[in-house]
């Protein structure tokens, strides 16, 4: 039987039906793209809101004890950890001295060597983030149990560190937003603590309370 090279004209109903289903597919793909874009924008908006809230809270006090409490409150509420240490670097830069903490063994973490292991990297200005959540595995070292450690940077110098130990049980790990919060704390918390220290030394005689 001779082969017919010419395509058979298709049934108009089938053509319309194909066109309709093609349009539906395109619309569905467009809706999907739009939904993904909306979800990304909402996630971005939440990231910005969280960073704004952290920044406002971080700068809300010049009292040294309140400033330290605010850092812990930010980490508890916005990151999801209730095991926190805040150290200051001693004058010769050899040790980190515990200034404030929550939910950890204070005796164990009262003084840590600043020139060993993870802390050595941190006092050089690098944030440490553990790949796996704390307590899952690994060698027992001075810094075991740390989920993250953030340098406190001011004017190109490291003045201390924030240690984050266990995360809340329902939190699987640290995410992109947590890392952005760590960057914010690394760059702003030291300046807040320095200002609070100066304010305490001046006895509050540097401004006037409104009202």
């Amino acid at each position: 039987m001779p082969r017919n090279d010419r395509a058979k004209p298709s049934n108009p109903t089938t053509r319309e039906s194909r066109r309709a289903s093609g349009t539906a597919l395109l619309e569905s793909a467009a809706h999907k793209r739009l939904a993904e874009r909306c979800a990304a924008l909402e996630a971005g908006l939440q990231r910005l809101t969280t960073l704004w809230v952290a920044s406002i809270r971080l700068h809300s006090s010049v009292d040294p004890a309140e400033a330290l409490d605010n850092i812990k409150d930010i980490l508890t509420t916005l990151v999801g950890s209730e095991e926190i240490a805040i150290w200051r670097l001693d004058q010769d830069g050899r040790s980190l001295l515990l200034q404030s903490s929550q939910g950890i063994d204070t005796a164990r973490w009262a003084t840590v060597p600043a020139r060993k292991g993870v802390f050595n990297r941190v006092v050089r200005g690098q944030t440490y983030i553990r790949d796996k959540p704390a307590g899952t595995a690994g060698r027992v070292r001075a810094e075991s149990g740390l989920s993250a450690c953030i340098p406190l940077r001011a004017g190109g110098l490291c003045t201390g560190a924030i240690g984050i130990f266990g995360l809340l049980p329902h939190k699987p790990g640290l995410n992109k937003l947590d890392r952005a919060l760590f960057d914010l704390l690394a760059d702003q918390a030291a300046i807040v603590l320095i200002c609070a220290g100066c304010s305490a030394r001046l006895g509050g005689h540097w401004g006037r309370r409104d009202g």
Binding site: T76, G80, L168
Partner: protein
């Protein structure tokens, strides 16, 4: 303009209060705050909010106790309560529901989840959203 829905936020953490206020501020709700369970209960009686967001861990009277007191009071027994908790375990959630809460949100708060649960409790949920 229809009356704005009133939401009472009870939390001892200033960071948590500010974050929740920011997340709800776009929705044109009237927001009232209290710093612990005792203040929260008094404000609930005075203001009769449409919804209460209640932190679990608080000084003076914690969220579980506050919710029980709210449910035992004639003026506040019908007000929906969403518990906000950093304790995501089954025991903690069971204790929250046993105290009479309608729903719960786990910290750190996810904006989408919070808004969906708030709208659901206020009867504002739109399936198209």
């Amino acid at each position: 303009m229809p009356n704005r829905k009133k939401i009472l936020l009870v939390d001892d953490s200033s960071t948590s209060l500010l974050m929740t206020c920011m997340l709800l501020s776009e929705e044109n709700y009237e927001l009232i705050t209290a710093r612990d369970g005792v203040e929260g209960f008094h404000k609930a009686q005075d203001e009769l909010p449409d919804l209460i967001l209640l932190d679990v861990v608080m000084p003076n009277m914690d969220g579980i106790e506050t919710c029980k007191v709210l449910r035992a009071c004639k003026k506040t027994e019908q007000i929906p309560v969403i518990m906000i908790t950093s304790r995501g375990g089954v025991a903690s959630l069971e204790a929250s529901y046993a105290s009479g809460c309608n729903d719960y949100v786990i910290k750190p708060i996810d904006a989408g989840e919070l808004l969906a649960k708030v709208k659901n409790c206020l009867g504002e949920w739109n399936a198209e959203e």
